[in-house]
Amino acid sequence: IIGENYRWPHTIPYVLEDSLEMNAKGVILNAFERYRLKTCIDFKPWTGEANFISVFKGSGCWSSIGNKRVGNQSLSIGENCDRIATIQHEFLHALGFWHEQSRSDRDDYVNIIWDRIQSGKENNFNIYDDQVSDTLNVPYDYTSVMHYSKTAFRNGTEPTIVTRIPDFMDVIGQRMDFSDSDLLKLNRLYNCSSSLSFMDSCNFELENVCGMIQGSGDSADWQRLSQVPSGPESDHSNMGQCAGAGFFMHFNSSAVSTGAMAVLESRTLYPKRGFQCLQFYLYNSGSGSDQLNIYIREYSAGSENGTVTLVEEIKDIPTGSWQLYHVPLKVANKFRVLFGGVRGAGASLGGLSIDDINLSETRCPHHIWRIRNFTQLMGSLDGALYSPPFYSPKGYAFQISLTLSNPTNAGIYFHLISGANDDQLEWPCPWQQATMTLLDQNPDIRQRMSNQRSVTTDPLLTDDDGSYFWDRPSKVGQEALFPNGTQFRRGKGRGTSAFITHERLKSRDFIKGDDVYILLTVEDISHLNTTAPQPVPTNGTPTTSTSTAPTPGLCVNFACENDGVCTVWNGKAECRCPSGDDWWYMGARCEKRGSTRDTIVITASSTAAVFAVMLVVTLLSVYCTRRRYRQKTGPSTAEVPVENEHVF
């Protein structure tokens, strides 16, 4: 939408209202992370700013277009709207974006079949001219997350939108992630030149190898190659599809003796958030005991050459294929990442290779489920494919099932299973959010359009038979067997049969080298269930909202008055007091109210008081002086001659 008045500041204040479902709250925070990674838009809990977005569970999923400057601007994430791309879509509306097919040049790219549209709904296919809406010099985008799908507002079974290029018929309407053009437009509209959480991406296609340097003091070097006789035959970025391209870095362990090391150091990196996720693909064609060590060289005051710390030793690297790895880092100062290839014992005909490195200040997934030889599973699998068992950080054992038998869609479900910690855990399982991500294996994290769904365990959710859905699997689950014959019990799965269509699954880089990766994170989101009072908005309507940040223990006995919000800063509880355009609360507990009117009153009354005091002092001075003069001149008048006398 054209008009600077519609723009938000780069950091948007938000409130997640109590009405939101727990799962929706977690997904909204995940959607914010996608904005932080790929755009310069950031979000912060509202602390009294004049305009903010209030996300609530209304009827349906909807938003306004742009910043309406109304103070509290509502955005509804209703039932069934708790999908990450739906939330990204609604926030793009709030940031000022219409639907893609309402562009002025729409008819050049799609045909609207008017007689297939429900009567009275034709107006949903409006076009905005270039006085209202700007395309920002970005071509029409069939892959936009803001595009309707072909079935929008149809009155029968035939599509209402027909793309002029037939290949795009099933592309329009994706609800996975921002497309490249969505990002280009958003970043142009908001003059973005960087993002909060992206740090580096490297596929080694350029000869400068992304500014990486060979380590000093090691016994070998990494080489930039496009193939190695003993493997890999090609890089991971292009999988050998581009002749003359496709490079990776290789440590030839066959050419060095046991214990020798080759170190590859990244360029210098500057963290903002203090936590990072390093991900890369690794190929082993050397000895089974070759290993890759990940180090950090951190520069701080007094350590000119940096302090090197070993973060992770990657051992038992499978041979013969590219494999994805994630390494969580926690660095607060300027640093480099070091890849140390170490020659192990045993015969080696090749070595270690790395490719498609991405470093971002995001959380790593807790687990990776790699599914090999995926294409032969598609369509042939009658039933479900179960992941290996995993444990959440809290100790809950779980499993993912993937269903591929439906001819159109693939389904995904989250199951709790019986585990070693069950006696120590709380049942029914409260507020664990499982996020399941089908990874788009594009070499650049910013261009990935991964498909994600989340499921949250509601401890009060009951099943048809009255039992608690997320109760202990040994109580409500069914007996099952691991491939090694170990018996366990699996709880009911919750998820979707429409996770992704087979057509989309075959698109982009979801399947690469015949491998599919499902990234899994199960985190405790109980803290999102706590209600914290929020400041009174500028329109004067009090709201009660959910604090999105965990309410730490320090705040338990630290009450803030007048709807102040308790936060922990430098290890101490503090009150963030509400304020408006011309009023504010202050004091350690927001107990005092101030306003610009008060200031004017204080200034005026101070001036009047000073004037009154000065007047009294002046009058008194005059009075006293006159009186003294009279006393002085009274009795001695007869003795002093009157001539040559000064008189005031």
Binding site: S59, G60, C61, W62, S63, S64, I65, K68, S74, G78, E79, N80, C81, T86, H89, E90, H93, W98, H99, S102, K121, N123, N124, N126, Y148, S149, T151, A152, F153, G173, R175, D382, G383, A384, Y386, S401, T403, N409, G411, Y413, V455, F469, Q478, A480, K492, G493, R494, G495, T496, S497, A498, T501
Partner: protein
């Protein structure tokens, strides 16, 4: 492994609903399916 169909709960009910489908099923008549205009929720062009 075969999975008994009744042993999973499909939150989408087997249908891949898009945003405008969800809103339409709720009887909403929002502008372009999911856009709220100034102060008016139930209005199309």
């Amino acid at each position: 492994l075969p999975t008994p169909e009744h042993f999973v709960k499909d939150v989408d009910g087997g249908i891949d609903q898009d945003i405008f489908d969800i809103n339409e099923a709720l009887g909403l008549d929002l502008f372009e399916g999911d856009i709220r205009l100034d102060g008016v929720q139930d209005r199309n062009s």
